[in-house]
Symmetry: C2
Subunit: 197 residues, 2 copies
Amino acid sequence: MPHPVAFWFTAGSTYTYLSVQRLEADARAAGVEFSLHPFNLGLLFREAGYWPFPEGAAKTAYMWHDIERQAARMGLSPRLPAPYPAPDVPLANRIAMVMNEDGLGMAWLKASYREWFENGHAPGSDEAVSRSLAAVGADETAVLARANAPETVSAFDAATIEARRRGIFGAPSFVVGDELFWGDDRLDQALALARQG
Amino acid sequence: MPHPVAFWFTAGSTYTYLSVQRLEADARAAGVEFSLHPFNLGLLFREAGYWPFPEGAAKTAYMWHDIERQAARMGLSPRLPAPYPAPDVPLANRIAMVMNEDGLGMAWLKASYREWFENGHAPGSDEAVSRSLAAVGADETAVLARANAPETVSAFDAATIEARRRGIFGAPSFVVGDELFWGDDRLDQALALARQG
């Protein structure tokens, strides 16, 4: 019997865009279930004294070019570079938690990346929040109240503690049993391991 | 007509091990020529205020596990983690330049990674220098004299300036025309583009 894949991400991760575009279809093709786990990667970066894509760095320029190239291979043409870093990624991640409770996690994530990578509205911005929630038919006022409620903040903190415990240090990450795979480039291997069961 | 692939690396890079194991065979299969370009990646890291694999970091533990996993897929079983970081990587890279002049670049690189990842002798250490040069039948005293000569030091500096100019920020990197690919995970795409010509 196949194992599930736990998809650990932050809505503010650039490379996570690629996995969001293909995870549902690829998991279905592999006969594998997946679950969504937003966490506070920015906090783990700060703890590590590290920021992966500083403004003006050669690595940052490459990151946008590489995502564009990988997206083109998938038939996608996002408008890059997108605004980066995003203004309020923790809020976007708590919205992801709430939407996931309602069974709309992937639908909202896709809408969030559509706003960010196609329409230029970064996660956590007023425009991105309004438009991504409207896109999935959610009530913005109600979702924001839940996203800012203490129990959601606590659950988000707990998810980040769990990510740290599992040795997660970047996004997207995929966990199958105790095996960790980092990066969209490892999604196929994660699904293959999950399929083995 | 196929384009050549320029392989930019430092002998002190961990992931470069994977590319060194397969570059010759994969390039041959693709009908593509490649050239070797050692450069001072440590200097570029210092300029960027960044070190990719600090001791004790979750990312560093993952790096060794991921290399082991990728190596296993290639039928290899290196003894990891290997000593890291290596003591005198610039010397190892200047030796790579000298050996490359003599047509022994890849043979020496393979020997260097054998010492590091199988026998535990890090690049630039006395043992690694002696044993890797002996493995390819080179005269250690003569090679060291050339590796430490001003013209080699200058050529190594020039290679690093060229790497910076090309936007290279990590290793292994592969350049086809003006297109940059970073990481062993992009070697196949680099070879495919080169083959198109």
